[in-house]
Amino acid sequence: MIFTIKDLLSIIPELIIAGSACVLLLVDLLISKERKACMAVLSILSVIAAGVASYWLLGADFMGAKSFAGMFELDGFSTFFKFVFYTATVLSILLSFHYVKEEDINLGEYYVLMLFSLSGMMVLASGADLLSIYVGLELMSLPIYVLAGFLQNDVRSNEGAMKYVILGAFSSGILLYGISMVYGLTGTTELSGVAAALSDSSVHVPALSIAIVMMVAGFAFKVAGVPFHMWAPDAYEGAPTPITGFMSAGPKAAAFAVMLRVFMEGLQPAYEQWMVMVGVVAVASMAYGNFVAISQKNIKRMLAYSSIGHAGYALLGVMAGTEEGIASVMFYMAVYVFMNLGAFGIIIMMRKGGQRGELIEEYTGLARSHRGVALLMLIFLFSLAGIPPTAGFMGKFYIFMALIHRGMVGLAIFAVLMSAVAAYFYIRIVMLMYMREPAGEFEFARSKGIYYALFITTVGTVLLGICPGYLVKLAEMASVIM
């Protein structure tokens, strides 16, 4: 028995994405340089097709089962995250339409690489075995390394991508060492098998601690948690801005999906051990990310540090170790996609003198001349800061609830304090926009793609802030993975 029809059916979304990436690679040869935008449209269509397939699979009776000899798991958890990835990808492609033309990187391979990365994320979210997790992780990361360095003529892009690759490979090595130790201690790499072997309690604890330390370190790199965050500011600053948005949303959500699965499903018996380490990384990320963001002058860099801080909040949700914690992290990731990509959409719109408008001071006085744009930016910044009634507030709220129900009230209070620190640099931009006079003329990059993206993200941010109930319920239903 190699594989059954059921196995094939469960990977239809992945097949759609990977297959259309390959097809688009060939179609790219037939499209002339001026009409490359159809590549973007075709990739959006393929993501939508995969979304439809995922939705259809929700009703299948083999939902919740493992296929391909335990390598692939189709359940509500992975489907939820896949929809998050689809949203992140579609939004990033929408934001790219105009940008790639302006920056002269209008290649078909741009979209193909994004689709490959998306397929890696999907494999990662569904991985039920450490082998598929590792392979999916690399499939997700390699195209992103290339996309981060896509602005070939810009040294910052090259440098950012180089740092990203080296540190990425380094952390892959550390993660692999941890995986090899887990294999050695339990005799299997299947997550359910690992959990069974560990709860047997015949596994010697110190060696397991080595394995857990390594794995926490490897995953912490992927979510840019302190002290493995060194690549993030440079990679975020150097990458093309739609790719920065993509990087900050998709791979981060995927890394949290896999962290939740590995730690909650596989290493659940070792909860006391990894909880402490995850907590340390979470606290360090919140503190460091939020404090350093204050001194940044480049808005993309500032958002990089802010996303380090946000990774800290989400890690607290992982640390809570309950189903409520899982659901809160899932909800937080969905929220994060909307508000982060919305902020990046505004950044892409701002161009000054034919250059990318990336310095914070360029937003001075925006509200005087362009009320609408300033209002949107205000919504996104408030959401990032966690101010009600935006989605960001709801996301943090659920994480804090999960922590408090677990009894970790001290951590919740610390997180709230860090939120207050973070609010400073978000509000500072709002003040700049509304309270000062503009220094010069504002030029905007206008394109339909950016408008659609901004519309979607604004609706998402506001809607999830006012009535998050539906999505939270979905997350709670999907979080029963054990």
Partner: protein
Amino acid sequence: MVPLTWFLALGLILFMIGAVGVLIRKNIIIMLMSVELMLNSVNINLVAFSHFLDNVRGQIFAVFTITVAAAEVAVALGILIALVRNRGVFSTDEIDTLKG
């Protein structure tokens, strides 16, 4: 018969040497080679466990690790070529356009 712990010790030593290499050296090529050292040490671990657990899984995993490492090296060297072509630089000491 060589005991399992000897193999694991060798794996650990090579891993640590590779990790030190990435942290110390500023020449990008040598940093990449140190990462390859780390991945090889993981392979030693995997194959050793596979042998001593009488389980083929470790060796399969090692095959995949070799494959992925090769792909990663190709991408990393591609990025390095783009960087050098743009900047004519070769060591991370001079890569300081991006602060911090």
